[in-house]
């Protein structure tokens, strides 16, 4: 397998079975995630974007087709994939430091070295002075940043971000998008972001995959070659054109 490919979905379909019906969430989906890239996925709401992340973590097995992560079945790659959700899901009874250490603790990798590295991350991204605070003392944006550090602390080889900014207010969202992209890029992580927000997808991604409505498949992939940070990208001349093209691609699906 190609060393530059972190994860691959080949002709994947996923059907949810319920007592009264079955739902096709994903059909004939092909997607490759390359090492070190930031891939954004946009699609109509309820199209099965989150299902793709669930396939990558092995929470669901594909009904047909193959999914491989780090060259193995996803369920075997567990603990090497970081997952970030819409809600931060920080544990109320642990302070920020102990929340950040959760992944290492679960994996049995907590030692002086990994603890020091985690504290450095907290320090570096402005949470150092809050490390003894409990989550309810922090703002929504800071909580989500703590959740990101919890995810980065165990050095995942693939980061899955499931609409991590959608519960935040607009201003927090803009600045956090900026910060998260630079953290991920600086760290050389590979990330997949699922969002319904086209601007967010363009600002953060190196590529944007546009999904069709349910059942989900890839309609088109855009390469984003805008310079600058996530925030700066918004004022680039190419931004509006990309937005427009992606919008049309999404709209064409409705008819």
């Amino acid at each position: 397998m190609n060393a530059d490919i972190i994860a691959e979905l080949c002709d994947v379909s996923l059907i949810y079975h319920e007592p009264t019906r079955e739902t096709k969430a994903v059909e004939g989906l092909d997607l490759t995630i390359r090492k070190g890239e930031f891939l954004s996925i946009v699609g109509p709401s309820g199209c099965g974007k989150t299902s793709v992340l669930s396939l990558l973590t092995g929470l669901y097995a594909p009904s047909c087709g193959t999914v491989s992560v780090l060259g193995m079945p996803p369920s075997e790659a567990r603990g090497r994939i970081g997952y970030m959700l819409q809600r931060d899901e920080l544990l109320d009874w642990r302070n920020i430091e102990r929340n950040a250490l959760l992944g290492l603790e679960v994996k049995g990798e907590l030692n002086a070295e990994t603890r020091r590295r985690t504290l450095e991350l907290l320090e570096k991204y402005g949470l150092g002075e809050f490390r003894h605070h409990y989550p309810n003392a922090l703002s929504g944006g800071m909580r989500q940043k703590a959740a990101l550090i919890r995810t980065l602390a165990f050095q995942p080889e693939l980061l899955l971000l499931d609409e991590p900014f959608s519960a935040l207010d607009y201003q927090t969202r803009l600045s956090l998008e900026d910060e998260v992209r630079s953290i991920i890029k600086q760290g050389g992580y590979t990330a997949v972001l699922v969002t319904h927000d086209i601007s967010e997808a363009i600002c953060m991604g190196d590529r944007v995959a546009v999904f069709s409505g349910r059942p989900a498949s890839v309609k088109r992939i855009f390469d984003i070659e805008l310079p600058g940070s996530a925030f700066d990208r918004r004022s680039q001349p190419g931004f509006a054109r990309l937005f427009d093209e992606i919008w049309k691609e999404l709209k064409s699906d409705e008819q």
């Binding site: 994939i81 544990l91 109320d92 302070n95 959760l102 994996k107």
Partner: protein
């Protein structure tokens, strides 16, 4: 601090004082009414007793060295039933969380057990355990166990699906998920279950004493009723009120301490 804030604090304090004062007044009023009603012949103290007669009864019990043995008997039965019942209830809830299949299977049985008035099992307990303190403790245990299982399990099952998903993607085992997320997240539920359970243990013990005992406050109440000594009945109930309140507040104080440690207050 601004003047307005000082004024606000003063107002707050005055209101609090007023509430406590009215509380005490209400108590004094009821006691006085009870006493006076008997004295001026509005009602018969032989039937409704009176505060003075209650005090005299308690003093008599005390001078005959009868007071504390009765109180301690009931108290220990309740504590034993409460502690054992709660521990057993939490244990069963944990077991059911670990085996969802078993939980599904046993669900209707739990519902029936919960709906069943446990006093109906009294005669069976007497035959099986014997007519003594054992049967009373088992009764209290039964009453508090079922409530504890129901409420603690409900707390365990309430944990957000996303938290479980997060643990799963970290590769956590079910035991890790339980000890790091489910159990600590359920501490408030377990604490409120304790408060319900302590009340239920009193119910179990008094009911048990009605049925079998020769000692304890429940016994005094039944005995007093049978020989028409309403003073004894009222005195026992007064002591029971006090004991139950003390125990409830002890559990509530414990809850507060634990909650603080879990960073929720």
């Amino acid at each position: 601090m601004s003047n307005e804030h000082i004024l606000y604090l003063k107002k707050l304090k005055r209101k609090r004082t007023l509430i406590v004062a009215v509380r005490i007044l209400l108590f004094v009023f009821i006691i006085a009414l009870w006493e006076i009603a008997g004295r001026i012949g509005l009602c018969d103290p032989f039937i409704v007793s009176s505060p003075a007669r209650v005090c005299r009864t308690i003093a008599n019990l005390y001078s005959q060295n009868d007071l504390f043995p009765h109180i301690l008997t009931t108290f220990f039965e309740t504590v034993a039933g409460f502690v054992a019942g709660t521990a057993l209830g939490v244990l069963i809830a944990v077991l059911l969380w670990f085996c969802p299949f078993l939980e599904r299977v046993l669900d209707p049985y739990l519902v029936v057990l919960n709906a069943l008035p446990k006093i109906a099992l009294g005669p069976i307990l007497i035959v099986w355990v014997g007519a003594g303190a054992g049967a009373i403790i088992v009764m209290a245990l039964l009453v508090s166990t079922v409530v504890t299982v129901m409420s603690v399990l409900a707390g365990f099952l309430e944990i957000s699906a996303d938290k479980l998903k997060l643990m799963q993607t970290l590769g956590a085992t079910r035991t890790q998920t339980f000890s790091k997320v489910v159990l600590p997240a359920s501490v408030p539920t377990i604490m409120s279950a304790l408060k319900i359970s302590v009340g239920m243990s009193w119910v179990g013990v008094i009911v048990g004493e009605y049925l079998v005992s020769r000692r304890g406050l429940g016994y005094l109440i039944v005995y007093g009723g049978q020989v028409f000594k309403l003073d004894l009945v009222m005195a026992s109930i007064a002591i029971l009120c006090l004991l139950a309140a003390v125990m409830y507040y002890a559990v509530a104080a414990f809850e507060k301490r634990i909650s603080r440690r879990f960073g929720r207050l």
